[in-house]
């Protein structure tokens, strides 16, 4: 499986207003759960000790992040890391214990029942791991269900549902029941049901974990396509690193309820924050995730003048192909300006993970060190700065939305 590199959108000021803004979020299960976040000593305990002391389990511990408009924000972690609890806290399907959640600046935890229902009906729709379809309804009525809940008339909601059913590639199956569909088709229904209400954000809770690998890939591509066509904000929960790297603009990696690293796929793979993350990403084909910046050195005058060129968004693996074809160093060109060159030595170093320049190239001022620094930083900081710390030269200009590079 090829892992497509992620190309960043520029964090410009107006799109930067977060859709979801989560700050210091806690979810503790157990008796008198509120005291755990409130007491710094209890809050600092490791999970086993916390359970022994209080009988409580902290599923989400002091998590902060922003989800920006139009991005795919992936929360990834192994089972039990708290990621599913986290996504349910966003619309209060699970009531958070402490912290704040804001949607478009509005405090979710302060919402009354009507307001919360409004949020769930119009602003955030969820896709579930086991689909959660109503077995007694046809595909069309399942898709129209969200609209029915909102009180829309039968003819209108069916017409809307029909459009969405076509959009997810289920035309002709409107009258079937969920039991008559394959797993992949069922999840398309689940996706269509969420899309039908035209939500601002789509929340995915491990939507493809229950599917076969081939169908999973189809569905991932479907999500990429939908995102490219509609640019809808998505929060995507997964335990599959490949899926996270493929879909995510940014990834929050969770362990034991905490976010251990938050960054772009490249940052996570290129500069793991700790040994846990490093172990996690060890088997990732680095050359397919990292961009040429990591292998780049500054160009001598003659190198800068002529020769084959790649864009700064190219992956190391694409650069390897170019270098192999040309037999010599290849220039990294950005709108006519030569940022540097990559050669055999640098590229091999990235693949082997031994390159002293590994971590974004030391020769590119600003880019490398900043990226490494941000990647290593714990997630509690202002997540917005996770990408803004990146070099303007190599990064901000890689403007094409990455899905078009697929």
């Amino acid at each position: 499986m090829t892992i497509m590199p992620a190309t960043r959108k520029p964090p410009t000021a107006d799109t930067d207003a977060p859709v979801f803004s989560v700050d210091g979020l806690w979810k503790v299960f157990g008796p008198k759960a509120e005291r755990v976040p409130a007491d710094p000593e209890l809050a600092a305990l490791p999970p086993a000790e916390l359970r022994a002391r209080t009988g409580c389990t902290a599923a989400v511990r002091d998590v902060s992040f922003d989800v920006r408009k139009g991005e795919v924000f992936v929360v990834m972690g192994l089972s039990g890391s708290g990621k599913s609890t986290l996504v349910r806290c966003l619309t209060r399907l699970i009531e958070p214990t402490a912290g704040t959640i804001a949607v478009d600046g509005e405090d979710v935890r302060a919402m009354d029942r009507t307001r919360l229902r409004e949020l769930r009906r119009h602003r955030a729709a969820m896709v579930f791991q086991h689909f959660g379809l109503l077995p007694h309804r046809t595909v069309l009525d399942n898709v129209a269900y969200g609209l029915e809940i909102q009180g829309m008339g039968r003819a209108e909601r069916r017409a809307r549902a029909k459009e969405v059913v076509d959009k997810v590639g289920l035309d002709g199956m409107e009258q079937r029941r969920p039991a008559q569909l394959s797993g992949g088709q069922r999840q398309r229904v689940g996706l269509a049901r969420a899309l039908a209400v035209d939500p601002e954000v789509l929340l995915f809770d491990e939507p493809f974990s229950a599917l076969d690998p081939l169908i999973r890939r189809d569905m991932q591509e479907e999500v990429v396509r939908l995102h490219r066509e509609e640019g809808r904000t998505m929060v995507f929960i997964t335990h599959d690193l490949g899926e996270a790297l493929k879909l995510g603009d940014r990834i929050a990696l969770m362990r034991d309820g905490r976010v251990v690293q938050l960054g772009t796929p490249e940052e996570i793979v290129g500069s793991p924050a700790d040994d846990y993350v490093r172990e996690f990403v060890r088997d990732v084909p680095r050359e397919q995730v990292l961009t040429v910046g990591t292998a780049m050195r500054s160009a001598s005058l003659e190198e800068a003048g002529a020769g084959p060129a790649v864009s700064p968004d190219a992956t190391v693996s694409q650069a390897i192909e170019a270098v192999a074809r040309s037999g010599g160093p290849v220039r990294v060109m950005d709108s006519g300006r030569c940022l540097g060159v990559v050669d055999h030595e640098g590229l091999l170093g990235v693949v082997a993970g031994t390159d002293p320049r590994s971590g974004p190239a030391a020769t590119t001022p600003g880019s490398g060190p900043a990226g490494a620094e941000r990647g290593a930083a714990p997630a509690q900081g202002d997540p917005g700065s996770a990408t803004s710390g990146r070099a303007p030269g190599s990064r901000a200009v890689g403007t094409e939305p990455r899905k078009e590079a697929v």
């Binding site: 349910r88 619309t91 399907l93 919360l116 229902r117 409004e118 949020l119 769930r120 009906r121 119009h122 729709a125 969820m126 579930f128 791991q129 086991h130 689909f131 959660g132 379809l133 109503l134 077995p135 007694h136 309804r137 046809t138 269900y145 969200g146 029915e148 809940i149 909102q150 029941r177 689940g190 049901r193 209400v197 929340l203």
Partner: protein
């Protein structure tokens, strides 16, 4: 695999003490060693000490007298029970008149069309044939009486059951409060419900309907709650994530998701209502049950059979149609309404045609009188089969031998034991199987029969139950094992079990009276026949559901068929076998009590006598003792993990 390894001897504790059952028994023995001499010294041994009984006859008689005196004047009766009673009478009357007004053709057509829409053409034909058979047997009017009473009782039961089920399904607290009550109501014999109702309403249709409702509503409530609680959590979460209100969630998700359980509940409620509507003839329900009751009272097997066959037909048809409706699941959504409308229109057309033709009542000339020929056969059997058949003896001989060699020794053995020994015995059986809680309930329940002053008849009933259960379990386990090991046997048995499981308890008395006459042995035989299908079925299912991997590994180790059965299947199916015992005991008790109608004596006779003679005090005491006995028998055989396993 645990069953094939020899436990390594440990030195810390003597081997026997590590066994939990042995520990419990040891503790019990210790307790007995202290308490028994005390009790013995205080109240002496032998039968239940008089000092420990409470005579309830006087207060019960005065209470019943008070009720009879005040039934027409006291506000409670005037403004509550009176309305209830009038409402029931009116609605049963109305349904009855509608059924008669539709005429036999109209009713048959309507029933067949409903069956057609709900369950297909074959069952529609079967339904029509069943209704026509009722007419042919000359039982049209009693059938309609029973049907009218049942329709009203089922409607009320469903409403009550659904309301209780919704409460239990949506509120944890109500569920915790309701479940033990419903569980207990499930195990009590139908007869126990009759007496309190009669006390309040007197003998008549209202009492019959209300007793039926009380008996038939619990399954609906249980299954409704179960269905609501069993709904797929993720579906409910998905519905909530779309912003559904609580009401939308209930109506569009929870109730449709529980459809299967709701229809199963309806099926069970209808079957139990039919069973009770027939038994309630004892308290004035009229209809088919009354015909059977009257016929049995005069040992007229032919007449009993003529009324019994429509009961069986009704039971089979109702069960098959409702079960098929439950299985059908999601049909095509379109065209549904049109077909129903068409069915309704044609039923009305047939009814009108019958009216115009002036053929509302079943024509007398179309009946087949089977009573006389059947009685001839029975007479022949009495002459030729009852006794003196070479080699095998006769049926009456068997019954006699069973009574003298099994029932009598068992009864005199139980009644001869010191009272505390009986209690101790119950505790010793109940504790190792269940928990100290179930054991205590069982002991207290049995002691209560002593306190009520019916120790001897209770032990008499108990002896019949034990004999019947023993026979049932031997036959049931043997058949169940055979069916589990051979697909052919199971295929042959299945339709037989299906029919037997749907028949109301009352009907079983007819053939046994024909074969064995009256007495305790026929009551036991009826109980065995009634309980056997459930025991066979649970045993077969339990054995068949044993983990195939465990079976395969046993086979791969070279275990013979018997070894597999003894060392793998039976131990692994232990919960199912215990459940079979539990069910067997509960079902046997229900019929042994009804056996009071055919000379079974003991508590059942007391209850019937109380009802028949208007001596409610005797009847109520017997009814209370029946409840206690039912509780005791259920708790004794209740496995410790039943509560956990049942889930919701």
């Amino acid at each position: 695999m645990a069953t094939l390894t020899t436990p390594a001897p440990r030195t810390a504790l003597p081997g026997v003490l590590r066994n939990q059952a042995v520990r419990k028994l040891g503790l019990l023995a210790l307790l007995a060693a202290v308490l028994v001499p005390l009790a013995d010294a205080r109240w002496s041994s032998g039968t239940w000490p008089h000092a420990l009984t409470v005579d309830l006859t006087a207060p019960l008689t005065s209470a019943s007298d008070w009720i009879v005196d005040n039934r027409d004047s006291h506000p409670l009766f005037l403004y509550f029970f009176g309305y209830l009673s009038n409402g029931v009478v009116l609605s049963v009357r109305a349904v009855y008149l509608v059924l008669l007004g539709a005429g036999w053709a109209g009713v048959t057509a309507a029933a067949a069309l409903i069956a057609w829409r709900a369950a297909g053409v074959r069952l529609a034909l079967g339904t029509a044939a069943a209704f026509l058979a009722c007419g042919l047997l000359g039982m049209w009017v009693p059938t309609m009486q029973t049907l009218a009473l049942m329709i009203v009782a089922v409607l009320v039961s469903v409403v009550v059951g659904v309301v209780l089920g919704l409460a239990g399904g949506l509120s944890d607290r109500l569920h915790r409060a309701l479940r033990p009550v419903l569980d207990t109501m499930q195990v009590l014999p139908a007869f126990a419900y009759l007496l309190p109702v009669v006390l309040v309403f007197g003998i008549g249709v209202p009492a019959a309907v209300l007793a039926t409702v009380v008996y038939a509503a619990p399954p609906m409530a249980r299954l409704t709650a179960l269905g609501l609680r069993g709904a797929d959590k993720e579906v409910l979460e998905a519905v909530e994530s779309l912003g559904a209100t609580a009401r939308q969630r209930l109506l569009t998700a929870r109730i449709p998701l529980a459809r299967k359980e709701l229809l199963l509940g309806l099926n069970q409620t209808i079957m139990m209502a039919l069973g009770m509507a027939v038994i309630a003839s004892v308290i004035g329900a009229g209809g088919l049950g009354d015909r059977v009751y009257q016929a049995l009272a005069s040992v007229d097997v032919g007449a009993a059979l003529a009324a019994g066959i429509p009961i069986v037909l009704l039971a089979v048809v109702l069960d098959r149609v409702t079960a098929a409706a439950g299985r059908a699941g999601d049909g095509e959504p379109g065209g549904h309404r049109a077909a129903w409308a068409w069915a309704a229109v044609s039923a009305v057309a047939v009814a009108l045609a019958g009216r115009v033709a002036g053929r509302l009542d079943w024509p007398d000339s179309w009946t087949v009188a089977i009573a006389a020929p059947v009685n001839d056969v029975v007479d022949w059997m009495t002459d030729h089969l009852y006794s003196g058949v070479p080699l095998i003896g006769g049926t009456a001989d068997w019954a006699g031998h069973f009574t003298t060699w099994v029932l009598d020794p068992l009864r005199s053995g139980l009644q001869g034991l010191p009272w505390w020994a009986v209690l101790l015995l119950v505790a010793a059986i109940a504790w190792p199987i269940g928990t100290w809680r179930t054991a205590l309930t069982a002991v207290l329940a049995l002691a209560a029969t002593g306190v009520l002053g019916v120790w001897e008849p209770s032990l008499d009933t108990l002896s019949q139950v034990l004999a019947a259960v023993a026979v049932t379990l031997v036959l049931g386990f043997a058949t169940g094992i055979a069916a589990a090991r051979s697909d052919r046997v199971e295929r042959l048995l299945r339709p037989v079990l299906d029919v037997f499981q749907t028949m109301p308890q009352f009907v079983y008395l007819i053939p046994v009276v024909a074969l064995f006459g009256v007495g305790r042995a026929p009551a036991v035989a009826a109980a065995v026949v009634y309980a056997l299908p459930a025991v066979v079925r649970i045993t077969t299912q339990g054995l068949r559901q044993v983990d195939p991997a465990a079976m395969e590994s046993a086979r791969s180790l070279g275990a013979t068929g018997t070894q597999q059965l003894r060392q793998v299947q039976l131990p692994l199916a232990r919960p199912a076998l215990l459940l079979a015992v539990n069910q067997g005991v509960v079902l046997v008790l229900a019929v042994v009590i009804i056996g009071g109608l055919v000379g079974g004596g003991a508590l059942g006779y007391d209850a019937v006598f109380g009802l028949a003679q208007g001596d409610l005090a005797t009847g109520l005491v017997a009814g209370a003792a029946i409840v206690c006995l039912g509780l005791m028998l259920d708790r004794v055989t209740q496995p410790a993990d039943r509560r956990v396993k049942k889930g919701a």
